[in-house]
């Protein structure tokens, strides 16, 4: 029994190794959105030294997946928020049906990943902000 179990586990390991090897080989053809040079730069800054491109791309894919997951969650929040608006208001906002990444959605989605982001109630992103209250009321 023990021998058969051992054989099964060794076969399973071989399969896992094959899957991993295939994945690493596929990374040679896959081009992540985050460029290799940029990842190398940040990895080098943190003391990660490896000449293998596949590992660099693995890190790039991991980061890309994380950002994509966060953005997908934020998109779901955005869509949910837009669908819950009262019908009267919805008619007004028909024009502005664009899906915009906002701080509310991002902070909600990031909270699930253990990142607490709180945005300021008032953020003057330009020198003219707050000078003209009439335009803000619009």
């Amino acid at each position: 029994m023990n021998q058969s179990q051992g054989q099964q586990t060794s076969e399973g390991r071989h399969e896992d190794d094959a899957v991993l090897a295939d994945f690493l080989a596929s990374l040679m053809d896959y081009t992540p959105t985050i460029p290799d040079e940029l990842v190398e730069h940040y990895l080098g800054k943190s003391g990660f030294q490896c000449p293998d491109v596949r590992l660099i791309r693995l890190v790039a894919v991991a980061t890309q997946k994380f950002i994509a997951d966060v953005a997908t969650d934020a998109l779901q929040h955005c869509k949910a928020r837009q669908s819950t608006i009262v019908k009267d208001k919805r008619d007004k906002q028909q024009k502005d049906k664009r899906l915009t990444l906002t701080m509310d959605d991002l902070s909600k989605s990031l909270r699930e990943y253990g990142v607490n982001v709180k945005h300021q109630d008032y953020f003057a992103d330009s020198p003219s902000a707050g000078l003209d209250p009439a335009s803000r009321e619009e």
Binding site: E37, L38, S46, F48, T63, I67, T72, M103
Partner: protein, 273 residues
Amino acid sequence: MSSKSNRSRPLAAKAIPPPSTPLSESDYAFTITRTAVAQICSSIGFTAAEGPVLGILTDIAVRYLRTIAKSAADSANSASRTQANLVDTIAAVDELSSVSGFPGAWRATGCFLNSGAVKKLDTFTEDSKEIPFAKPLPRKIFSVGSRKGMRNVGSSKIEYIGGEKKHIPTWLPVMPVIENHEKETVEKRRRELWGYCAKTEEPEREKKEEKKTDSGEKESKGLELPLKRGKVRFKIGGGGGVLGVCRSGGIGKRVLCENWNFDDENSSKQEQL
């Protein structure tokens, strides 16, 4: 917050560096990351993003990258290695994805090579559409650890990549380039000249070296002795009455001697007046 819609702009127009700050290397890297993050958001389905929000997401992406790198480098270093390998990287990825969870994370003693996080990455690469970066970047534009005055420029870069200095790890800062090319060639010529006709050029050389106050230049051992004797001669001749100053030695001594002479001259002038 009705002004949000006014502030939202197209994703492509977001790669603007913050105003009134010099565009350093890190800013450049951050701007590129910002563009990449904007591309990812656009591929997910967003049509626009607020500027500060995109900045926060970019910052998180950079932190994520650096955390993976630091974790992998730490585990490599703890195993007495300088180069991180696959196991270190997968362990780092596992560690960071344990917040959201992945299949097989419950196994405390599981092998890293069949990690569920990596399998999720595999499915991600298969399912997601491949979006390359907007513009191809030139290779090795970032020199790791470069600072002002230590940036690796020109042909010496080739030495570090595959030339004479390829044994030096890339994460080490580049050796500072102090001498320019012209100075090197001039020195080389001079050495060649003195190497072949040292006897004939020696008196001239002594005169030249006496004028120089810079002690940083190192010459061959056989030619150093007359230089030092020359200085001693100067000590005895210049400040005969001021032994204490002469004993202290160094460059400042000459100044002192000159000052003494200057005072003497002044006193003599006063006497004349």
